[in-house]
């Protein structure tokens, strides 16, 4: 019981590590570039024109 409680308490560490791994994969696949390209153009949909 204590073991599972301790695991749950540390789950944020696993989540953060997994997140960093995903971020790395995303960066290698060029996804940060895609996000940047979208973000530096005025998003016409966001402002209700497109």
């Amino acid at each position: 019981m204590d073991f599972w409680k301790r695991c749950k308490e540390k789950a944020w560490l696993l989540g953060t590590a997994l997140g960093l791994l995903f971020l790395g994969v995303g960066a290698v696949w060029g996804q940060l570039e895609v996000i940047w390209k979208k973000a530096v153009m005025i998003c016409l949909e966001c402002i209700g024109i497109g």
Partner: protein, 279 residues
Amino acid sequence: MESGEVMKRNLRLKVQILVTIFTNGYAYGFLNGKIYQGPLKYTCVPGLNCYSCPGALGSCPMGALQALLNQRNLQVPFGILGFFFVVGSLLGRFVCGWLCPFGLVQDLLYKVPLFQKQKRLPFHGILKYGKYIVLIFLACAGSLFLFGGFARVPAFCKYLCPSGTLFGALPLLAGNKLLRSQAGGLFFWKLGILLVLVLVSMKIYRPFCQYLCPLGAVYGWFNRFSLVQVHWEQEKCTRCHSCEKACPVGLSVKEISRSSECIRCGKCIKACPARCLHF
């Protein structure tokens, strides 16, 4: 009063204002009706902050998710999933309570002494799932195929996002004559949504966050195990229910923190006379 006490007074409001100013600090954009185009936009800000806001220095996580889903060669959007996992695992919905500019707007509107205040809408138990529907059907599936056919569109940003209207459309259209001339039915639809939310926010606490925000739905999932938690020392609790009365989203003491609805505002901590709640 001690200096520490002075600092702690309205601490959340101060943090919210500072974060909003810091993440929207590109003053040149506001003056010229343009947006920031530098390298900071490779990263997302934690809260719902339209990247077409003239002052925005970072990208919006929801916009980023849809941008990745809108790609012609569809991939698992690891770039933004990673961001959600890191921020969610560390902070959970602390982001909503402390770091989201649109949350700040709703907090301020709730202080307007116009209507009798209510924590929740009727049928809250059903309506609270609205944000998951928005996330799945508008931000994800909607971006993929529902509305745009083969020309994929960021459906949440296009049809619903009030943050885009408030922080993006209104300042951009005010400063850019060309864009102003192109505003049509879609803009007025979004403006209508924003106006309804502004009115409802004066009566109900954060209606967008409680019922519609897909980012809140994402971070809510991480609430159960995120690093930032509200801890409850059950043995110290006197069952006075002060925390429950203070909770702006109407949670019971058992639900506080682990519930996906808790935005970690800390009002329960402040209200507890026995000091059995703490971050």
